[in-house]
Symmetry: C2
Subunit: 419 residues, 2 copies
């Protein structure tokens, strides 16, 4: 039975950990940065060496394709190689490198496939340099306007379009992933959460990506001198905001055990220790697979009192995302192969967003999760054991081979919906 | 009975409001900035025109002196002309301009004094460009090392020492305010709080400056993905910090009605809406005239639980300042003159810090407060009616004349303590 090679995958992981390596571990490899461009070049070089032909589309996505034996649509596998600031070596990168290792296995073991097989790299998945996240898959699937995305600027005023041009990453619109030329999309990714690690499992069979809603809550106070303003005359926006955080935490915590919610960002104005804050705003990010639960969240946020601690409270929706369910047939194939290979596994939902969730709108897609040690991600400590990486890559390989043996009926449903 | 002139004082206020004027009112006149240097030059020009001799010390403080009829120590009056960013036209400036108007009244009315009378301008009271606040009076009274202060840099890397040199503000160490050559120090200032305005009073007789303590409270959590980390595994530092703010607010609020406390600054790391914060720190500033009350504050802060919401909580003292009581004899003179002039007045404590509180350590000092409309300060809306300004200036004038009539016994106590 074909299997990927541990030493080869280990070498790939070590090699790509150099691009953007940070002194104390992990990487900073912002989209289209010199480090990211170097990683793209290395990947292209390796693909050429394996005899793949490499194309780029107009958003800088890379497609490295091994030809098939029949005139059939391609099967794509991949992920991203950009990172957040002080990110880890596995988020995204492992999905690209396992896809590469799967194709390398096909090449070295002389396994031919009926369908062409394409290793994909998505540009700017993280959105850490150019917001929003999942920008390129969002453009390809009609979520974002291409012109608006090309105009998005990083902190230094460089636009995404300028960065694509400067990095020599601009290819043809015709090369885009599309439902006519592709059969399906598979993405392996680290879980970025503790579920698999806690339950001692090796493979997560991802049913879908949970929906989320994002709100901004603002407390409107009155700036005043910390020493001269009597307490009863104060409109202290930070105190009001703290009360809102505590209230929301308690109320949201009662809705459902699977609901996760985070107050990750806070901005205080003027943020000087001797001045009573006049405006404090914080973010609320809530995620759950069931829309009804998210509706409960919205109700609770909207029910915050209009006045707290003498401050007016306003609530604004920043954005929301519906739940995505991956293609049930593909999900079943992943499950079948994890079981067949004897890897302890379970179904789960992704709390994080991934390019695959956008692709699912135009192509049958599925994701394979491997464990994140300690549930840690987006940090230097992010780690997945090489054995777990190998298990994931083998599930990817066999899911690909199963798909290759299928007829194209899996895709036809999408084509009919799309037209 | 001598009295200051309303039109002259109004003209002075209008003139100085130009230096660093902001489009929508108020000023930005950071210490030793071009705007502040222009204001210093204008002041010097006006002092020369009144026949005063102008000296500068080695920290850039300005001393403009009208000679007396006897060989006696000087009486100093003044304040500062630097502002915070988007500050008002009265904070500091009014103390300098009323002192100038008092001396102009002496000159124009041919009122001679036994003691020389000095109009003072303190350099960098606000500390908005070069921290800390009250830097120059702090150096003169031994609170800060001169070398350390000269090395303090602004945001652009310009040191205080370089700015003094570049502004041509460096004078002689011998010119410093000192207890041998000076009898007393008087400072008129806007209240920067609502007490006088709320009670419809014209004059605040300042007993002293309240003591304060400043603490930094830090919640130590664990950064993690907002979508993939189950609630029960989270160490959410922002939630923990919010709980600490609410707990402290409630407990500190019970200590004493005169205690004021502020959580003005908060820093959240990494402060990204999709990441659980791993460290959140906030400032606590608490002020009260009685040390025992501040001790209660410290006890409550120190009694925060070591763990909140799975996060370790640490507490660090940033700094503290003891209460300052102004010279009782001088305070009584201010009160006597406010009463004699028929101005509604009350005793109060300053919640804000002022150069006078440092000077009090080496010279008998006192402060006169005039009302701040709406209690607003450090903003464009900062305002004091010209009538209130005149009342304050007249109290300053008559307190000066009373002091001039005194013997030097008021100073002797300080000399003996100092030596």
């Amino acid at each position: 039975m074909p299997a990927v090679n541990k030493d080869r995958l280990q070498e790939k992981i070590h090699c790509f950990a150099q691009f953007g390596a940070e002194e104390h571990g992990g990487i900073t490899r912002l989209s289209l940065s010199p480090a990211a461009l170097a990683a793209r070049t290395e990947l292209t070089k390796r693909c050429h060496a394996l005899g793949l032909f490499v194309e780029t589309d107009d958003i800088g996505n890379i497609y490295a394709t091994k030809t098939g034996t029949e005139t059939l649509p391609r099967i794509a596998m991949g992920s991203h190689i950009d990172s957040v600031i002080n990110g880890g070596n596995y988020d995204g990168t492992l999905g690209v490198l396992t896809a590469l290792e799967v194709v390398e296995t096909l090449v070295r073991e002389n396994i031919s496939t009926r369908h062409p097989v394409t290793v994909m790299v998505w540009t700017n998945e993280e959105g850490a340099r150019f917001a929003p996240a999942m920008m390129a898959s969002g453009v390809l699937t009609g979520k974002f306007s291409k012109d608006a995305m090309l105009a998005v600027q990083d902190e230094d005023g460089v636009s995404f379009g300028q960065a694509l041009l400067a990095g020599d990453c601009l290819g043809k619109t015709d090369n885009r992933l599309n439902p006519q030329d592709y059969l399906a999309y598979l993405e392996l990714h680290v879980e970025q959460g503790p579920v698999l690690a806690n339950e001692n499992l090796t493979i997560g069979v991802v049913r879908g990506v949970v929906g989320m809603c994002n709100y901004t809550v603002t407390a409107h106070g009155q700036a005043n001198h910390a020493g001269t303003t009597p307490m009863q005359e104060r409109k202290d926006a930070l105190y009001a905001a703290s009360q809102c955080v505590c209230t929301l935490y308690e109320r949201l915590g009662r809705i459902d055990p699977d609901l996760v919610f985070t107050f990750g960002h806070i901005a205080c104005r003027p943020n000087i220790h001797t001045i009573i804050p006049d405006e404090v705003r914080f973010s609320l990010d809530a995620r759950h697979q069931e829309p009804a639960i998210l509706q409960e969240v919205v109700k609770i946020v909207r029910a915050l009192p209009a006045q707290t601690a003498n401050c007016a409270i306003s609530v604004e929706e920043a954005w929301s995302r519906k739940s995505t369910l991956f293609d049930p047939k593909l999900v079943a194939l992943v499950k079948k192969n994890a079981d067949a290979l004897g890897f302890p596994n379970r179904h789960l939902y992704s709390g994080a967003g991934h390019d695959a969730q956008y692709v699912q709108d135009i192509l049958p897609s599925a994701m394979i999760f491997v464990p994140s040690e300690g549930g840690l991600s987006h940090c230097a400590k992010e780690n997945t054991s090489i054995d777990d990486c190998i298990c994931g890559a083998d599930v990817l390989l066999h899911t690909l081979l199963d798909l290759d043996a299928e007829d194209t009926s899996i895709r036809d449903r999408y084509l009919s919906v799309g037209e």
